[in-house]
Structures are given as C-alpha cells and as structure tokens.
C-alpha cells in the first residue's frame, strides 16, 4: 500500500500529513522524495543505518581520439557540449545523462564517468523506517535519487508506505507518484490554494490515480478550496484545523500525533478514511476484474494490509488498484477532532 502526499506548492502541509500518517500507521515506511529540501527527518530524527551515494553518468572526452567532427555537439538536445578552439567542452550540470553523445561519436572518443548528485539515507525511528533523499545543491534533477529511494523503500516488507512528494506537478512529482496506489492532495483554504490544488488535480487525473483532498489550515469561514472540490466532485478526506497548538508543535519539529491524543485521533481517523477510500476504489475496479485477477495470481486481491491497519477494510495489493478512477462522489469525511 503506497500513499503519495502531494500539493501544488510548498508549505501546504505535505510533510505534516505524511509524517503523521506514517506515525499513526506504524509499523510503516516514510519516504521523503522532496530531495531539494527534505525535512521529514527533522520530525522522525531517525538513526541512520545506511547511506548510499547516487551517481549519474557524465561524458568525458579522450582528446587524443577526438577529431572535432561535432557529432556529439549536434546531437545534444540540452546543449551540454560545445566545440571551440579544437577542444570539446562538457557542461556537467547541463547534461541530462542520456548517453547519446557516447553512442554517436564515430571515433569512440567519449566515455562515461560517474558523477555524484546526492545520496539517500536509510534510518529507523521507532517502528517507522525513514528514507530520505538528498540532492546536492545546484544539480539539475533529483529524479535518479527519487527512483532509487522508491526502489529501496517500497521493498520493505508489507508495511504501508507514505511518500512525501516534492511540491508542484513537474517531472520529479511524476516520478514520486508513478507507482503510488493512492494520492492525497493537501491544499490551503485560499484562492491561491485552489489554483495550486488544480495543478496536482490535473496531474493525478492524467496518471489515473485514485485520490482525495485534505484541507489544511481550516478556519470557520468560506473556503475557496471547498468550492473547487465541490465543483469538480472531488472527495474531501479530512480537514486539519488552523490551530495554534498544532502549528507550534509542528514548527518545533514534533510529530503532533505523538504529542496529543486529539491530533493522534485526527490522523488515525484520516488514515482510516484513506484506507476505506482505497478499498472502495479498488472495489469498484475489482467488481469487473476480480475473476481476471484471480486467474493471474491467487493472492493478488488481498485484504491483509488493510486489516492489519484497521481490522475491517480490504485493499488491493500493489499494482491491482492502478488505473482505477476515483469515484465521483461528494463526501466530506470530516476528521475534525
């Protein structure tokens, strides 16, 4: 069970939601894919058990062999190569590691070398496995790090996995959600928040992922995001109040669900709602394809993981809920404490 938490902009509460969901779901796995500025580790304060350097391939030239034909310069769509004064110049941080220049060089003058772009840290914090991706400052893309993080973190037994995504809806977010079974979109109660929600809404629709919205920083007044969700028929999974105590604990890098019963209840209830919705999405799909799944694999459809969490909800195992469209139901499953 992989749940991705995303939002159209930073600061909406992705880390608050994903950290606290992972905390109440423990034993669980938390993966921080916000590799440009990972901060989930500040809350979990994990004991690091392993580090792995992440490298990409960068071309290097053998000047003895280079004849200046410029095939590589012409080929590079990213303009990472230039040839002046009988010399090839390679711009490492513009290179996207496609390897094309090496392939097109007729003189075999180009080869590849490893270049470190960051690392992943694997740690433990109580019953939560914490995976953190860290991209070195100035690097073009964190995708290789996210790829490796998800490869490592998703292979951690049958524990539920919570993916804390980077903000926005660009390639790094796509990489983070591509194998997720469910997407939780976090939004702020403003017009700007509704605009940003729309970006990730379009993304999860494009990826055909089941999803729901969590409204953060809720006040007892008109909420443009409520209207947006109502217009689009998007399910609201829960609401987190604009609460001084919660904000204060969170900004002190405390896991609020560990600090107060009312917050633990808030996130437990949210988790329960998410698992229930996942079961419903899987169920609507399952009605049609159950027999096919059974033919494919005897245990593809299993209730074990959901039951492990909540005793009664069933959910599909990895992959089998992919491609399920969210039900167009307006539901306000409030998780207010």
């Amino acid at each position: 069970m992989k749940i991705a938490v995303l939002s159209g902009k930073g600061g909406t509460g992705k880390t608050l939601v994903s950290v606290n969901l992972a905390a109440v779901a423990a034993p669980s796995t938390y993966i921080d894919c916000d590799v440009e500025e990972p901060n989930g580790h500040l809350f979990f304060k994990p004991e690091i058990v392993r580090e792995e350097l992440i490298t990409v391939k960068i071309p290097q030239v053998d000047e003895e062999r280079c004849v200046g034909c410029r095939e590589c310069v012409r080929f590079c769509n990213y303009n990472a190569l230039a040839y002046v004064n009988q010399k090839l110049i390679i711009f490492d941080d513009v290179c996207h590691s496609c390897g094309g220049c090496v392939l097109v060089c007729p003189e075999a003058a180009l080869s590849e070398r490893d270049k470190a772009i960051g690392k992943i840290e694997i740690g433990v914090s109580g019953d939560v496995s914490v995976y953190t991706g860290i991209l070195n400052t100035g690097e073009a893309t964190g995708i290789p790090i996210i790829h490796r993080l998800l490869e490592e973190g998703s292979d951690d037994g049958n524990k539920p996995v919570f993916i804390d995504c980077p903000p926005g809806s660009a390639c790094i977010v796509m990489e983070s959600i591509k194998d997720a079974d469910y997407c939780v979109l976090v939004a702020e109660p403003t017009l700007f928040g509704a605009h940003n929600l729309n970006m990730v809404y379009e993304l999860v629709k494009l990826f055909d992922k089941p999803f729901g919205v969590v409204l953060n920083k809720c006040l007892n007044e008109e909420n443009p995001v409520d209207q947006f969700c109502s217009d689009k028929g998007i399910e609201i999974l829960g609401r987190i109040p604009f609460d001084h105590e919660l904000a204060s604990l969170n900004s002190s890098a405390e896991i609020v669900a560990h600090k107060q019963d009312e917050y633990r209840e808030l996130f437990s209830s949210l988790l329960e709602t998410i698992v229930k919705k996942m079961g419903e999405s899987a169920g609507s799909k399952r009605d049609g394809v159950l027999s096919d799944l059974k033919k494919m694999s005897g245990d593809t459809v299993s209730g074990e993981r959901g039951e492990a969490l909540h005793g009664s909800h069933s959910t599909c195992s990895d992959g089998s809920v992919k491609g399920v469209k969210p039900k167009e139901v307006r539901s306000e499953a409030a998780v207010d404490s």
Binding site: C76, N77, A82, V84, D93, V94, G138
Partner: protein, 124 residues
C-alpha cells in the same frame, strides 16, 4: 576584427537585446570592411543550455569580441575557451555601441550570472 551583438530585430538602429542566449539575432560586424550580417540565433528556442549553443554560434562566426549587456557563466566559459573577449553594452543603439567599442569606450564585461542550472546560484 569581427564583433557580435545580440539584436531584437534586423536593424543597426535598434537597441541591443537584453538577453544574450535568447536573443533572436546576432549582428556580426567587421570593423575592417564595415560589413554587417544578421545571424539567426537558432539556440533561442531551445529548452536549456541556450547560452552555450549561442556562444558556439558566435565562435563559429570567427568573432573576436562579443558586445552584450549580460552573459551567463556557461556561455562565458565557451567564450573564454574560444578567446573571445566580452564587453558590456549600454542603453544606446547597436550602431552606437559598435562606434563606442571601436573608440575603446566600452568596458570589459567581467561579472557573469549563474546559468539556469548554475553552479554559483545565489542571491541577487
């Protein structure tokens, strides 16, 4: 010597283009023959590394000096390798900037902004 200037349009009376890598044209002016040629900047529409490709285009024109209001670090690296000197233009027309250059009145351009994927990304 040939000099190059980024141009918004194909006119010597127009202002110097504010961008180097994304300029639509470059004027290549020969200070000896006084001939000028407008070269299309095919790098302008690229998704990234426009400065590098633009500097390659300029270098391939056999230019000795580049007159521009600004330049990125990556393009500056290409110019340095190609032994092309950089001079800072002013708010006047392309023609007036060339005249100022010929009289030795344009200062060298020595501060470069970080590339889009810049190594030296920092505050303004």
């Amino acid at each position: 010597m040939k000099v190059a200037i980024p141009a918004d349009s194909k006119s010597m009376d127009s202002k110097v283009c504010a961008s180097f890598g994304r300029a639509p044209y470059f004027v290549v002016y020969d200070t000896e023959t006084k001939d000028s040629v407008f070269v299309e900047n095919t790098a302008a529409s690229g998704t990234g590394g426009a400065g590098i490709r633009a500097a390659q285009i300029i270098a391939d024109q056999g230019v000795g000096a580049m007159l521009t209001p600004r330049c990125g670090q990556n393009a500056a690296d290409v110019f340095r390798s190609a032994d092309i000197k950089l001079y800072r233009t002013n708010d006047h027309s392309i023609k007036e900037n060339i005249e100022a250059f010929v009289k030795g009145e344009l200062p060298l351009l020595e501060d470069f902004h970080a590339g889009f994927h810049g190594r030296n990304r920092g505050g303004l």
